[in-house]
Each structure stands twice: as C-alpha cells, then as structure tokens.
C-alpha cells in the first residue's frame, strides 16, 4: 500500500480498483446502457477531441496507449488491414465496372461527348489535336487550340452548307 490517490478519500490504488469493479458488477446494465447511448458517445468523442487539442498530458498518454496497442497487436492489425484493402478495392473496382455497364451511365457519357463536340470545348479540341500523336493533351499550347477550333468550325459549317 504505497500508492494512494490524493483525491479519492485516501484509498490505495488496489482498493480503489476493487471498489470500481464492485460498482461495475452491481450496475453493469445501467453502465452499458449509458455508454451505448448515442448522445453519450457523441459527448465522449467531443471531450476526447477537446482534450487531444488542449491537454498535452492526455495527448501523450493516449498516444502511448495507442502505440502500446499497435506494438502488441502488430501482426493482427497488419492482417486485418490487408484483408480490408483486398476486400474493399475489389468491391470498389467491381462497383465501378458495373456502373459503367449501366445504360444510364452510357447515355450520360454519350450526352457529355455530344455536348463537348457541339460546343468545341478546349478539351475536345485538344483531344482532336492529340489524336494519333505522341503529344499529351496538356502539352498543346492554347494558341494552337484556338486556331484548331476555328478550323474545325469552318470545316463543319462548310460541310453543313454543302
């Protein structure tokens, strides 16, 4: 009995822990119900965030605790993370592929392309210039884009009038 809490009625640490454990066993359901309450969880999160910002001692203690946990469960965490990445990247890719196959997506894509072509947008003209070439879209100067836009406009108008 060498260690005492200064503010807990001069109880030694071991006695205080026993008292807490007894209280927990007697009021387990009540405590669990309280901690499961979303409002309680929200308040706890806010308090944690506040302490992390304003209490350096709390922050250091929390960081040390997290580090201890990471070091203790290194392999399990690694396996869990790898499994999570594998599962979610695969599902993400599948979702994307499935989305691209939908008629709605194809229609939207088609509409987008038509809009680009009708308005002679920069990206459309740049794509026309970069077609069948090693040039990247970003490598084309804007002045060349302006000239190409005019040329395309003339060609289209001439074809319409013919």
């Amino acid at each position: 009995m060498t260690e005492f809490y200064a503010c807990k009625g001069r109880l030694c640490k071991a006695c205080f822990k026993i008292r807490i454990a007894k209280y927990y066993l007697a009021n387990r359901e009540k405590i669990l119900a309280r901690t499961r309450d979303p409002e309680f969880k929200k308040k706890a999160r806010e308090l944690h965030a506040y302490k992390m910002l304003n209490d350096p001692k709390y922050k250091a203690r929390y960081s040390a605790k997290r580090k201890r946990f990471r070091d203790k469960n290194k392999d399990e965490l690694r396996a869990y993370n790898l499994a999570y990445i594998k599962k979610n990247t695969a599902s993400r890719k599948e979702k994307k592929r499935a989305k691209r196959l939908t008629a709605e997506y194809k229609l939207k894509e088609r509409e987008y392309v038509i809009k680009q072509r009708e308005n002679f947008t920069d990206i459309y003209v740049r794509q026309q210039l970069a077609k069948r070439s090693t040039l990247k879209v970003a490598d084309i100067p804007q002045s060349l884009v302006e000239v190409k836009r005019l040329q395309l406009k003339i060609r289209r108008l001439a074809n319409e009038k013919r």
């Binding site: 210039l129 002045s143 000239v147 005019l150 040329q151 003339i154």
Partner: protein
Amino acid sequence: MKSVNTLRHELAEIFDDLRNGTIKTKEAGELANVAGKMINSAKVQLEYYALRKEVPTLKFLGDDKLNGDS
C-alpha cells in the same frame, strides 16, 4: 502568314465570310484544309520537342507558353 495569331485572324474572317455567304463553301473548305496542314506541321514540331524533352521554341507559335495561358 508568319504566326499563329495571323492565321487565327484569317480563319476568323473566313468563318464570318462563310456564314454571310460571301465565300463559296468549297473555297472555305480548301482554306480550312490548308490551315489544318499548317496546324499539323506545328504539331509535328511540338512532338519533336516533346520527344527530345526540350522546351519548344517555335516562331510560329509566338510567345505562347505551353499550356500556361489555358
């Protein structure tokens, strides 16, 4: 026609003339075709510089910085 700006002005005039009907469609088409050739030659020069990983210095393009004014 020494620079891209001159070419642009010329093409703008041709476009207006074509819309107003003061120039024949065939003639406008041919002029647009010639402009296309000039644009393509500038493009080939740009490709050359890009492949050599050099900064292009083309008189035809004037003082335009690459993609800087886009």
